[in-house]
Amino acid sequence: MELKDFARRNIAPGYIFFEGEAKPENGWESFKRVVRRSIKGELFVGLWIVFREMIRFDIHTVQYPAEKLEMSPRYRAIHKLLRLFESGSERCIGCGLCEKICIAKCIRMDTHVDEKSRKVVSEYSINFGRCIFCGYCAEVCPELAIVHGAEYENASEQRAHFGLKEDMLTPLDTFRAKQQHEFPGFGALSDNANDAVKRTPLAY
């Protein structure tokens, strides 16, 4: 392989190199360039393209507060604490791994041993002013108790909102209505993934 081939090893065969137009040397040449550019149909191609898009009326606007995009399972937003499907009790066993792994040191939990000598979580909070939404806590959780939700509307009057245990834990009535969804796991595709797939631009 010669140096020239090596330098262009990432360039597909048939790639067209465009060195740019030669600069006009004198007034006559620049005049010719103006005439060429004015008479060549480029301007009207532009007009046609925007007109075609207007007629085609393929509107991409999402009228946000009224309609929202479906979030991917890979999206990492405000955390959720899930309940066991069998009993409805909290999944969290208070092992403290999430607190330990949190690189922003924003998770804080209090545990105690109750009368049945089982460990229960009495307080669990995440400081979302510090959380960097890295997802380590959800990844390290052995019980799939803490997961990331898709709720991204976090405007609030109080700093502490969204971050307390009662904010994140699935409410009991939601759970009884079977509205608690299992986390599909990191890297899972969204439900509408097939619709969102397009051909690679190089193919056409």
């Binding site: 103006v34 925007v50 898009e53 207007m54 509107i59």
Partner: protein, 330 residues
């Protein structure tokens, strides 16, 4: 008694022209936002009223109720009067423009023109040229460098395109032999083949380009191009004073559309089964749409390119056009 009737009639006509064109100008802002949005695959304003059609009312309320800010260090009286100059000249230019064919109401023949003067073309173009005092005074009084640059560009652009529009329109006038817009309209009475656009295609092109320059529309929007001079001469303005500039710009668009329609595209003569008034509306609507269409599609050009093309290309072409027309007429 006769004088009184004429005065009252003129007052009524002037009021109607002012009200209708101002309303159309306001409506055109909504149309512009919608058309630009559709061409860019957006929806545009949607929330105020059905399909956002009441957006112009919301904008109007906002503009009227906003605080009238006069910044520090401006030349106060000139700063305050400049938007009025811009809006007034835009509307005054419409005095000599016939919008529709004459019609009869209750046995009383109405000419839909405020004043049929025999030098209408000269008058309209002259008043439109006075309109440059709006941007010029606004920019020079604003104590802001962007405004000053915008004003300088406005004057430079005005000087460049005025020559082109004046010379380009000379050739049709030589053929018709009259400066009255009604005579120009009547000259093209015999259907599409009589339109001056076929006899004077070059003059039509030049005049259309000059029209885009006169209304500061893209691709010749050098004087208020955001990326270069923020908002040009209007940078320091807000509220209704800015709104006056805006109304003036849209009134100018309507004026230019009507002028091109009358001079080159058969004016308000009826065509086949379409009555003249409707023809006029169609043509003006097409031209307004063309202004928006071009804005969506084309990039704008640099001021030096604008001057270059005006003085070195368009003006010689206009002169050649006049010469050829003269030889053909002889």
């Amino acid at each position: 008694m006769g004088d009184m009737a004429i005065i009252i009639e003129t007052l009524i006509k002037a009021t109607i022209v002012l009200a209708v064109t101002a309303g159309m100008g306001a409506f055109a802002t909504w149309i512009e936002r919608k058309v630009l949005a559709f061409m860019q695959r957006r929806l545009g304003p949607m929330h105020v009223g059905p399909y956002g059609v009441l957006q112009l009312a919301a904008d109007g309320i906002k503009l009227f109720t906003k605080e009238d800010i006069i910044p520090q260090n401006v030349v106060k009286p000139i700063f305050m009067i400049a938007p009025v100059v811009a809006a007034t000249t835009a509307f005054v230019a419409m005095a000599a423009i016939p919008f529709f064919p004459e019609f009869t109401v209750f046995g009383y023949t109405i000419h839909p023109i405020v004043s049929d003067i025999n030098v209408a073309v000269l008058y309209v173009m002259g008043v439109a040229s006075v309109g440059v005092y709006g941007p010029l005074l606004a920019g020079m009084s604003s104590a802001n460098k962007w405004s000053l640059l915008g004003a300088a560009r406005a004057v430079v652009q005005m000087l460049s395109f005025e020559v082109v529009s004046g010379l380009s329109i000379l050739a049709p006038i030589m053929m018709i032999g009259s400066l009255s817009l009604i005579d120009i309209n009547d000259y093209q009475i015999g259907g599409i083949s009589d339109w001056l656009i076929w006899k004077q295609p070059l003059a039509f092109l030049l005049f259309a380009m000059a029209g885009f320059m006169e209304t500061n529309r893209s691709p010749f929007d050098t004087i208020e191009f955001e990326a270069e001079v923020v908002s040009g001469y209007a940078t320091e303005y807000s509220g209704m004073r800015w709104g006056l500039f805006f109304v003036g710009e849209y009134a100018n668009m309507i004026t230019v559309s009507v002028l091109v329609s009358i001079i080159f595209m058969g004016g308000y003569n009826s065509l086949w089964f379409i009555p003249g008034a409707l023809m006029m509306l169609l043509k003006v609507s097409f031209w307004i749409f063309l202004f928006l269409w071009v804005r969506a599609a084309w990039p704008h050009i640099r001021p030096d390119q604008l001057m270059w093309v005006c003085w070195k290309v368009l003006m010689p072409l206009a002169v050649v056009n006049i010469l050829i027309t003269g030889f053909v007429l002889i």
